[in-house]
Amino acid sequence: MSRHAWLLAMLLVACAARAEGYGLGHAVDAARLRAADTAIGPRGVELPPGSGSVAAGAELYGRQCAACHGAHGTEGPDPVLVGGQGTLASAHPVQTIGSYWPYATTLFDYIRRAMPFTAPGSLNDDEVYALTAFLLAANGVVPQDTVLDAARLATLRMPNRDGFIPDSRPRH
């Protein structure tokens, strides 16, 4: 390629890459973008394929979670996951998935990203659906025969969905 043609080619590449700006950063392919898009918003559009039942979740919970969160999710020593409904306005509020969390999608998202505490990321998506189903059933949000998948999870309404208001701290 002649020097002239080479320069022209480089110029075209640069223009295609960036209309303006510093020309920094690297393009990302679609597969990488899909794989990275793991944070689940309240509409649930990022939820992965797969499904899991309450029964499968109960079994997994007993093996992988109960030692830290208690056999019923109420005993600790680590955060209480079950119960507390009706306590938020009391002197001793118990803030749990069932009593406090506004979105069910958050539960799937958090288990998948951060639990079990000592081995985050070790559960597959079916297992995360199952654990989510189990913890929602334990909190009375879904029936015991539930099989949870993306479509079902995205439409669930949590008991404390309307319990949050924007920042309204008084300015003193």
Partner: protein, 399 residues
């Protein structure tokens, strides 16, 4: 009091008395070195007599707890990086800078991935800025809790940060008009995720790789963290790995289950992001040995996430009367600000307190006013006036 502190207290006390009376104490001159000392060194250490350290909240897992800055030992407004407070939810990851990348995607025209070297090529920005965990002083909601200022107020620190404007990096990707939020994700084991309002992200939010003249400490997010000035610390996501532009917040566990403020009526406030005006007296303060009678300065730190500190008042009678303290420069927005007031301890019991006003006109509230507005189960964002009781014997207590 430790015996070493007691010795120092006695020798300073008697030296002072002797000095005032013009009598020689007979003390020997400090020994001067008579032989060469240690050689030059590649990376310095503090003097071996200096032992100030962070206090760790007792917890089942040290990977998800906090360490508190020793505010009473801090000089000036910069917290040494090694003493900057910590709060992690999944421990401190070990990230090799060569393997680091930041992905920016979502509602952008051009999703891009940046290496650390790419990011360092953007125009540099320097900013001195404090951070405060919204859980700072959480024990005080239920009444006096922390035994000293480190345990009551140590979840704030102030550093000189180096980095680039997030707006520049986002412009490179072309933010779409529908974008309202920036979802930031860390590369730690907790993959800690927070949503930042886009207006704030484009206003003064930084991507920082430097702290106090060197690379970020691992505990502070090495090699790259977000710095969202004035907002609660956890939103300045450490070990940053991904930014997604979105039309709604992600409602992560860290902005629903946690970092929301429960009110007495059972509802909770979400996205309570700005840190309010706050101050504390660091000297005298509990646990530092009894006060010497006579002259001393009442000294402390004040800060606000909403701007500059414009005024600090000090009371020596539990808040009945207030006097203006002197502010010591530099007085910078969203920074620790030093104040002092000359004072004499005459052996009479008294209650010391400080009250901060910021440039928005916000005044640090009394505990009663704060609790009246928000109850005692809010957990986060406690910024009430702190009282220290000084007893006749010079001991100091959290009341």
């Amino acid at each position: 009091m430790h015996s070493r502190q007691r010795r120092r207290f006695l020798s300073v006390g008697s030296g002072l008395a002797a000095g005032l009376l013009g009598i020689s104490t007979g003390a020997k001159a400090a020994p001067l070195a008579r032989s060469p000392g240690l050689p030059v060194s590649a990376y310095g250490q503090r003097a071996r007599y200096e032992t100030s350290q962070r206090w760790l909240t007792p917890a089942r897992y040290l990977a998800s707890t906090a360490s508190w800055s020793p505010l009473a030992d801090q000089l000036g407004i910069i917290t040494p990086s090694a003493l900057h407070y910590e709060r992690h939810h999944g421990g401190v990851p070990d990230i090799e800078p060569g393997a680091f990348s930041l992905l920016v995607h979502g509602l952008v025209q051009r999703p891009l991935e940046f290496t650390l070297e790419d990011l360092k090529r953007f125009p540099v920005t320097e900013r001195i800025c404090m951070l405060e965990c919204s859980g700072n002083s959480y024990r005080e909601w239920q009444g006096p809790g922390g035994v000293d200022v480190q345990q009551t107020h140590g979840l704030t620190s102030c550093s000189a940060w180096s980095g680039v404007r997030l707006a520049d990096v986002l412009a490179e990707c072309g933010v779409m008009a529908e974008a309202q939020w920036l979802v930031a994700e860390g590369g730690d084991a907790a993959r800690l995720t927070r949503s930042v309002p886009l207006a704030k992200a484009l206003d003064d939010t930084l991507l920082v790789y430097g702290q106090n003249g060197e690379a970020l400490r691992p505990e502070q997010g090495y090699p790259l963290r977000l710095l969202v000035p004035g907002y609660e610390g956890s939103i300045s996501v450490k070990w940053l790995s991904r930014l997604k532009l979105s039309d709604e917040a992600i409602y992560s566990r860290e902005e629903t289950s946690k970092y929301t403020d429960l009110m007495p009526d059972g509802r909770a406030q979400a996205f309570t992001l700005a840190m309010d005006a706050k101050s504390v007296i660091t000297s005298p303060s509990p646990g530092r040995g009894p006060l010497l009678p006579g002259f001393q300065e009442i000294r402390g730190l004040a800060w606000s996430g909403r701007g500059r500190v414009t005024r600090v008042e000090v009371s020596t009678d539990g808040g009945q009367h207030w006097q203006d303290a002197q502010l010591h420069g530099p007085v910078l927005p969203v920074c620790h600000t030093r104040f002092s007031l000359p004072w004499r301890f005459d052996g009479q019991p008294c209650v010391l307190a400080s009250r901060c006003t910021d440039e928005t006109g916000d005044v640090q509230p009394s505990r009663a006013a704060l609790v009246a507005a928000r109850g005692v189960n809010s957990f986060y964002h406690y910024n009430a006036i702190q009282h220290w009781r000084v007893d006749a014997d010079g001991s100091v207590h959290n009341v």
